[in-house]
């Protein structure tokens, strides 16, 4: 089963994503901060990571960098309330950048598209 790691410090977001993404048929793993996300990325070897940026302590961009140091092919979808991070070069290694919304359609479509492309084989 496809495993998706969700890193977000807000419990309400994690609960919302648990309900919505489980309907997509993914096995979900959750982390409430960046350090925990890095650890779970090692343990659960997810197929994709949904990463919040603003979290207590280490931010999601730094966590993404560390995850990619270990697994450079790991797709990370940045999912933040702020669109301004999109201009930062440090966010560019993310596979996609989706601004948070109560409507999860864009996020779910993005995750599905990336996982489909991934399952169809590497492009390089």
């Amino acid at each position: 089963m496809t495993t998706v790691l969700v890193a977000d410090d807000e419990l309400s977001i994690r609960k919302l994503y648990e309900r919505e993404l489980a309907e997509e048929g993914y096995s979900l793993v959750f982390a409430s901060n960046a350090q925990e996300a890095i650890q779970k990325a090692k343990e659960a070897t997810p197929d994709l990571v949904i990463m919040d940026i603003s979290m207590p302590g280490m931010d999601g961009i730094e966590a993404m960098g560390r995850m990619l140091d270990d697994r450079n092919e790991l797709p990370v979808v940045i999912n933040t309330a702020y669109s301004s991070y999109k201009d930062s070069f440090l966010s560019w290694p993310a596979e996609a950048y989706v601004t948070k919304s109560s409507d999860l359609t864009e996020l779910k479509d993005t995750v599905r598209k990336i996982l489909t492309e991934k399952s169809e084989g590497p492009t390089n």
């Binding site: 560390r66 990619l68 140091d69 450079n72 092919e73 070069f89 440090l90 290694p93 390089n124």
Partner: protein, 446 residues
Amino acid sequence: MRPLKVLPMLLAGGIGERLYPLTSNRAKPAVPFGGNFRVIDFTLMNCVLSGLRNTHLLTQYHAQSLNRHLLERWNFLSSELGEYIELVPPKLRAAHGVYRGTADAIYRNLDLLDRSRPDLVLVLSGDHVYRADYGKFIQAHVEREADVSVLTGSVDPGEASSFGVINIAQHSSSGSSVSTTDGRITSFIEKPADPSPYAVDGRCLINLGVYCFETTFLVEQLVADAKTKSAHDFGKNILPASLDQGTVLSCPLDVISPDAAPYWRDVGSLDSYFKTSMDLLASPSPFDLSDPRWVHNSRFREWVPALYTTSAMCDGKAVHGKNLVSSGVRIEDSAVVNCIISPRVVIARGCELEGCILFPDAEVGEGTKLRRVIVEEGVRVPAGTRIGFGEDARQFMTSPDGVVAIPGNRHFACTAAPALEETPEAVVGRSETAPVFQGAPEGARG
């Protein structure tokens, strides 16, 4: 229109294995060159003389040697005016510890690009000896609306197989192969066994390792490459991949060199280092350190060592040549010819030195004979030593072309001094009590 913001990123992290033992305790760009310079000085001088006074220097192996050199030599830049040379060590967070390639070195420092937000990134290498006006390079890049400009040299096909070869040929409608009129690069071939198919008018274009990138284009290429299992190298990966993504143009060194006959050398091996050094002593020299077009009215003219012609008897033969001699050198009554002598070197009397390079603070004892020898910093060569006459392959690191390198940790067994009258000046480098200088490497004492 606001001026373009250009950020030079100077790659100075190579391990320099082919230059060993000169790189056993220092970074390759920190290897002494031309008596009073370090290899990296030439790229840094190019930067400053091109008006680029804010350089990030990406270090890795033996970074302290570069740090020391920058503190001593390059401390004239004014941080109050926004001028700096910033040493950037590798990020320790990297799981791999060290940079995996030249492209990885910049990818792992995207935060620097994000912070300074330059329009253009100039990617430079710290182990090349050449003169170039990067301002003209940037101007050509902008005028031709390139995404990447690659500085290129031109060599005979017979010499091209050790370089990255650049192909600017394209197939015409008639099926023949012709050069692109704007220098558009059509392929990169890394060290081809037979470069002749890529020759144009009997010459091959080679990649000189100097690039000008549109910043966003560079970041896009670095990010895409980081997700692959490539060597993360500019020449092997980034540039070939860029051909499908944007406009990649060749900029010949002739266009941006202040010299009528452009000169560029990679000092990556002992032999190329030695040969490039000896070029400084040639008549006429293809790379004159004191060329006024380069050092006129700049502080760099103070760095140029004295150059003089001389004749001397070496091994029974008359040899005519030149010497480059730095400050604080003391030479007693000795035959020294075609040598490059760094600061504070001491050569006792009765020596014969031909075609040698002496690093700072080296001492040569009386009656010593050296030929095509590189003497490391601080080494004390005992009186009566004879090196470079064909019997050193087992004792010393000897290059394929027969250049002998005496490493810094080298200790010598005591040898008998020649029958010279003892004077206070003649005892330099000799020890009356200790039969062996300290710290001899394994196997060196026999």
